[in-house]
């Protein structure tokens, strides 16, 4: 076991500050997480940490100076360090591009083997370097983006691309078409047009559903437009304007690992054209429980 003062490169009379700064300097140099392949760094870091642990504690340092304990006496079982996890399977959690699935993607393979089999990889030999990415924008219908569609895109140079827009594509999403034969990728940014009555909220779809006075008061079956077509829904009796009803699974359809969203219909009571009978009825109508709907509001607030 090395002398801890020697390990940190400080004198026996070094102050606590000197010890701390010497340790920091060495820790930066030898921290195993900053030197993942080097067992030497790991060993060194352990020694440095042990020396610091001993000398930074005035009590232990005193006992060591007095020869009551030896340098190894205080060594603790090392905790497993970040790199023990980061390099293995658990490390996928902190992959640079977000959590990664197991196995290599086509992109990973291309990155490694594309270089391997392209033959010439001299620096500066750019004849085989990948071309630049090309970017285009494509505007798509609201429902096409929700349900998925294949749309034809004519490029400025006359080439025609069939762009497959997957179900649930969001506004601003960028689709990547892999370049062929060393060409760059084609990136297509999707703009989703707005819809007359549907709006997107992640995987859910919202809509304002007009209902008649009698449907609101008495309830009853109505047909609700959804991205997948009309769906029958029962409105419960006495559904006030603003009531939100949910149609489970009728929002954006599921795709891959993403579950289908729901459709939320907010009721809006519509009186329709004027009706003499209704007006006559209301004039004579004595409510069972008269209530002021503005009761909760205070003047001037």
């Amino acid at each position: 076991m090395e002398d801890p003062y020697q390990t940190l490169g400080v004198s026996r009379s070094a102050s606590q500050d000197e010890i701390r700064s010497a340790y920091r300097k060495l820790a930066k140099q030898h921290h195993p997480d900053l030197n993942p392949g080097s067992t030497k760094a790991e060993e060194r870091f352990k020694t440095v940490s042990a020396a610091n642990e001993l000398l930074s504690d005035p009590d232990k340092r005193g006992r060591f100076d007095r020869g009551e304990i030896d340098a190894a006496g205080q060594e603790q079982a090392p905790k497993s360090s970040y790199r023990d996890y980061a390099e293995g399977e658990p490390g996928r959690r902190y992959g640079r591009a977000g959590p990664q699935p197991e196995g290599w993607s086509a992109e990973d393979l291309n990155e490694m083997f594309g270089k391997m089999f392209n033959g010439d990889h001299q620096p500066g030999a750019n004849s085989r370097m990948r071309g630049r990415d090309e970017r285009y924008a494509l505007t798509t219908d609201f429902l096409d983006a929700v349900n998925g569609v294949t749309q034809r895109l004519t490029l400025p140079d006359g080439r025609v691309l069939d762009v497959k827009i997957p179900p649930g594509t969001a506004d601003g999403q960028v689709l990547r078409l892999r370049g062929q034969g060393g060409a760059g990728n084609t990136l297509i940014e999707i703009h989703v047009a707005s819809h007359r009555y549907f709006s997107r909220d992640g995987q859910n779809i919202r809509l304002e559903l007009p209902v008649s006075l009698s449907e609101a008061v008495l309830g009853g079956p109505v047909e609700v437009p959804t991205p997948g077509g009309l769906v029958r829904m029962r409105i419960p009796p006495h559904s006030d304007g603003g009531t939100e009803l949910r149609l489970r699974g009728r929002g954006v359809p599921g795709h891959g690992s993403r579950a289908a969203g729901d459709l939320y219909a907010t009721l809006r009571v519509v009186l329709g054209p004027s009706d003499a009978a209704l007006e006559a009825f209301l004039r004579d109508w004595k409510p069972e429980h008269p209530a002021d709907p503005r009761q909760a509001m205070e003047a001037g607030q």
Binding site: H31, P36, S80, Y82, E87, P90, Y94
Partner: protein
């Protein structure tokens, strides 16, 4: 698999707010359980690494994202390399592996 309370006691004097801020910065990404965050072993090790970087190596929180991003890229590459080596070990005949080793040792351009 431990909760934030246990983590804070284990890593004292680290403050709970520190960990919560690191989570909201997405430097640490624990799972969310019914009773709050659930830290796996790798999350705990990562919190400890950030703590060491900040408190012992004095990498301040302004500089930390740069350091973490570089480390994440480094570990991505090392994981890839390990997987590649593993795949070669399982699939490549001995002869190919010997050739490969010889070639790498020669340092031909």
């Amino acid at each position: 698999m431990i909760s934030i309370e246990i983590l804070v006691t284990q890593l004292s004097p680290l403050q709970r707010q520190d960990i919560e801020r690191w989570i909201s910065n997405e430097w640490v990404r624990p799972d969310r359980g019914d009773g709050g965050y659930v830290f796996r072993d790798i999350d705990v090790a990562r919190v400890r690494l950030i703590q060491e970087l900040r408190d012992e190596m004095q990498v301040n929180e302004e500089a930390l994202p740069v350091v973490l991003s570089l480390l994440d890229q480094l570990y991505d590459q090392r994981r890839r390399m390990r997987e590649l080596c593993d795949a070669l070990r399982r699939t490549a005949p001995d002869e190919v592996r010997r050739d490969l080793a010889r070639h790498l040792a020669q340092r031909t351009p």
